[in-house]
């Protein structure tokens, strides 16, 4: 479990063809405590994916500093992208084994497949999987490297409600066993309340932190839809500005 400190002074996209230069992120500060599950909620296109890409080291064109843990020069980042991004020419298991730097302990991977209920599909090619299964594989891949921080970019988007709920429950089972620090992006406030310790609401153009709210429902009561809905209603009543950020 690792502390993450995000300190971005500015992230600007240069002018391109007809689009003028625009500042995507400005004066953005956020700290994640070890083992904390934090959710970013903000309008579409406000820069959430840009932020995750910066933390993952995929975008280095910004001013500021990201520090993940103290001791690591090169932190291990598990990233669950919106699109699962599996190699279609490798089997599910090979996709997982490829991200490991050392030879995998088979029982370790077996356990991950078991929790995500994918033991039967580990030798199939990704093209034969449903979207929900592909998302679960992407989650296994992110957990498999034992990451310092886990980034999740709307991992349940375009799944039907029962499938999304199933994948969410499996994710929580896995996370309870391996409580990594997680930064999770979603538009769905119910989903955010069901999963996270802290909700971070963001504004757009440029993206800044508007408010941070701790989820006070006990972890073992998060699957109680009545309680989640009650919490959501209370949030929307107490902070009406949130409605404009969803």
């Amino acid at each position: 479990m690792t502390t993450v400190d995000i300190n971005i002074d500015s992230k600007t996209y240069p002018a391109k063809s007809r689009a003028s230069e625009h500042q995507a992120i400005a004066d953005f500060k956020l700290s994640l405590n070890p083992g904390e599950f934090v959710c970013l909620v903000g309008p579409s296109g406000c820069g959430k994916t840009t932020l995750l890409n910066i933390i993952a080291g995929l975008d280095n064109d910004y001013q500021g500093r990201i520090s993940v843990g103290q001791q690591h020069a090169s932190p291990k980042i598990g990233y669950v992208f919106q699109n699962p991004r599996l190699l279609p020419w490798r089997t599910v298991r090979e996709n997982i084994e490829l991200v490991l730097t050392e030879a995998a302990d088979p029982s370790y991977l077996d356990a991950l497949f078991d929790v995500m209920q994918l033991t039967h599909a580990q030798h199939a090619y990704p093209e034969r999987l449903s979207l929900g299964m592909s998302r679960r594989v992407a989650i296994i891949r992110a957990f498999a490297i034992n990451p310092d921080v886990l980034l999740m970019d709307e991992p349940f988007v375009s799944l039907d409600a029962p499938t999304a709920r199933q994948v969410r429950e499996l994710l929580m089972t896995l996370w309870r066993q391996r409580p990594h620090t997680v930064l999770f992006v979603t538009h769905d406030l119910r989903e955010a309340i069901a999963l996270d310790d802290r909700l971070v609401f963001l504004s757009s153009a440029p993206m800044q932190v508007v408010s941070q709210i701790d989820v006070t429902i006990a972890r073992n009561e998060r699957e109680d839809e009545v309680k989640v809905e009650a919490f959501r209603q209370r949030l929307l009543n107490d902070y009406p500005a949130i409605k404009t950020l969803l």
Binding site: Y79, L87, L98, V99, I145
Partner: protein, 253 residues
Amino acid sequence: MQKTLTSKLIPGAASLSVLVFLGLWQILAMVLHSSNLPLPESVALVFWQACVSGELPYHLGVTLLRLVVSFVIAMSLGCAIGILLGQHKKLDAFFDNWLVIFLNVPALVTIILCYVWFGLVESAAILAVVINKLPNVVVTVREGTRTLDQDLLEMARCYRFSKRKTFVHVIWPQLHAIVMAATRSGLALIWKIILVVELLGRSNGMGYQLHLFFQMFDVASILAYTIAFVSVIQLFEVLVLKPLDKKSQRWRR
């Protein structure tokens, strides 16, 4: 059931088409009754005699060796340069005009210049073939590299894939179909150029032999040598390229 029937019918159709071709040839040769179009059996006899005497295997072997060497050089260099140009826009902008020039220089000009500058030697012959094929491979692979899935490359970067691992597991499988297309068009192009190279400046090989037969108007030998060469290329397609294709596409639905 349908699939089994189709898989049985396809080889049958292929054999039938060869028989029809031979039949048409036979009829045409009988009607024309000219030494310019010998009967299939005369060509078969010439083919057999050339094989037994060892002449055909020798010249075929020499040409195939030249083909393999120039093909391997052109494909490896072409793939490397194509991937580089596809990934680096500035480099591509710099070399784009060079590529257009080399693509449009007639093969005959390159061959003549190589022989004039380097002499009638083996390396000049190989170089001439490589220069003719290289721009095609570069352009094909460059276009393929431009269409690489950036999402997968980002995934590889995020999960700290080494350069080798990224190439082997992420880039190469995406380029495979394009490289196979370049291989097929390359083989067809290279063997045609090699014959010209041999005809102009070598004293062995298929091109040299065909030149001799042309001087003697020996059409039967010309056809026998051509059939031998085309058969070898066809065998390569069936025994090497198609199994490679099948293996690399096994993940598809």
